[in-house]
Symmetry: C2
Subunit: 320 residues, 2 copies
């Protein structure tokens, strides 16, 4: 199958095509899109390399799903509404079964997210996936990393550490639908099908959160980006870290806390919120994910354990 | 050098940073940009793989330059004004000399083009470069492939076949600045530093060209895309093909014509223009590149030699 036929068959699918009349998708030298007045376009590009970011024999459906999910999570972290994406796909060979499953994985998340595939490039070479997602955000209201100030509360969405807890099973080649242990299966689901917190991010952007990002490299490292960009520090209440019963059952409390602090791939949001303001999330968002206050922003640089006053270091939690 | 330091040092350079106040560049979860009223955003993503699209030991300055040039050419083909780009760079190792030269190659073209590097991703793995460029075009005026109609004249910019003529020297590992033969050196320059026809494209978009694209895979194949999208055919006058004296001197007439028809990598524009309208290019654009009428659009599908009436096939010219 040649490049053009491949694109037509697996990527120029109706399920991935823009229904908007103001978008020109796949098929010309460039895609064309309009950005409505009063909106900015938020863009994020991520590259996933076989053998580095995912196992070489990874299930292609889950790979497509996860590649798109991790990108959408960047839109969620800015408070942007998903709009469209482009795909740079480098493949060692044109394997129809693989491509069909990969494309189905994209569709499974792109459709409910309202994301259209508007362009890209397919090339031959070592398996590498670059996805650029883009979304719309009301001008001036995007959630930046730089807005936290002393006294703000630190929140996270969902539960932390699940994806890190899944890693041993991922490296064994297990998949959620092919795993007997319900807890491990749950953790694998969290690793392969992260849930970008799009609605939460949009709500936070328009209701007064002061800073946000998504947790891809681990809470301590990622929170560190907010602290650095905002010129502040934080103290965390470790006993408040939201841990799933499944992670606790598989890893025990101490390891689970380590995963939550130092483990990546959770794609939950970490955000700061003014202490004097009530965080009244609408029911629609609370039904999708919980949010938990885990600490407070301080003037002093660094991240500290609120109960002992000792510094918390990401490196100390990278032993797994 | 870690990922963040690498990005700061080689890519968050002032020469690559947006001077516009309406752009948020590198450093948050997403880049943010605004699109002015009355403009559309044109976007194109290309992936270059080491050993497939360029020699494994390629000079990194020329690689950076060429990677960006081939992408800007897609903006030129739509008539868009360059705005910004994102870079997905996968590297086997973090080699400072290589990164500095690659980054300098980007700067050498991005600065005069007015392109800001607003985001991206650096990862470890086999050398792969994905660049997404974006530009602004007056709403509804982008040059599409689908607007050609019978009677239109077929034009190309510059000279054709130079890059294909350079390929033997490219595969030998020669570079323009390290080549004794002036003609071969010229062809190498054309291969490594293509000149995206940005001003020509912008002028054509606003002055009545009916269709356009850039020639990346070879004239016959690429013109075929215009013909297919427009539902028409074309006849070409082979003796009108613009061939450089350097190509003629290196390859001779017959091979040079073959390179011009079937060879890729020229990144000249091919466009169609209404026969009844004078093509009066302003001096500023004529000083940058010539344009040559090489044929005419016809009702009959296919591409024909105007002097013999026989079909011209790209495959027949892929023997080099």
């Amino acid at each position: 199958m040649g490049e053009f036929e491949l694109i037509r068959h697996f990527f120029d699918r109706p399920e991935l095509q823009p229904s908007r009349s103001d978008v020109l998708g796949i098929g010309d030298d460039c895609a064309l899109l309009s950005v409505p007045q009063g909106r900015q376009l938020a863009q994020s590009l991520d590259t996933l390399v076989s053998g580095v970011h995912f196992p070489e024999q990874c299930d292609p459906f889950l790979l497509g799903y996860r590649a798109l999910a991790t990108n959408i999570s960047d839109l969620a972290a800015m408070g942007a509404e998903p709009h469209s994406f482009t795909l740079g796909l480098t493949l060692p060979e044109s394997d129809s079964d693989w491509l069909q499953a990969f494309s189905d994985g994209l569709v499974a998340l792109a459709q409910p997210s309202g994301l259209a595939l508007i362009g890209g490039d397919t090339t031959r070479g070592p398996l590498t996936i670059s996805i650029q997602v883009q979304g719309l955000v009301p001008t001036g209201q995007a959630l930046l990393r730089s807005g936290a100030s002393a006294g703000d509360l630190v929140y996270v969405s969902g539960s932390l550490g699940d994806a890190a807890g899944a890693l041993p099973a991922v490296l064994e080649g297990l998949y959620p639908h092919r795993c007997d242990d319900d807890s491990v299966s749950y953790l694998l689901e969290r690793y392969y099908k992260p849930s970008p917190r799009v609605k939460l991010g949009q709500w936070l952007a328009t209701h007064g959160a002061t800073a946000a990002l998504d947790i891809s490299d681990g809470l301590l490292g990622d929170l560190g980006h907010i602290l650095k960009a905002s010129g502040v520090g934080a103290e965390l209440n470790l006993e408040q870290l939201p841990l799933s019963p499944q992670l606790l059952s598989v890893a025990g409390l101490s390891k689970a806390q380590g995963y939550a602090l130092g483990g990546g791939d959770d794609y939950e949001l970490c955000f700061t919120w003014p202490a004097e303001k009530t965080l009244a999330l609408p029911e629609e968002i609370r039904a999708e994910c919980s949010v938990t206050c885990i600490g407070r922003i301080m003037d002093t640089a660094g991240i500290y354990d609120a109960s002992t006053g000792l510094p918390l270091s990401a490196a100390a939690y990278r032993h797994f």
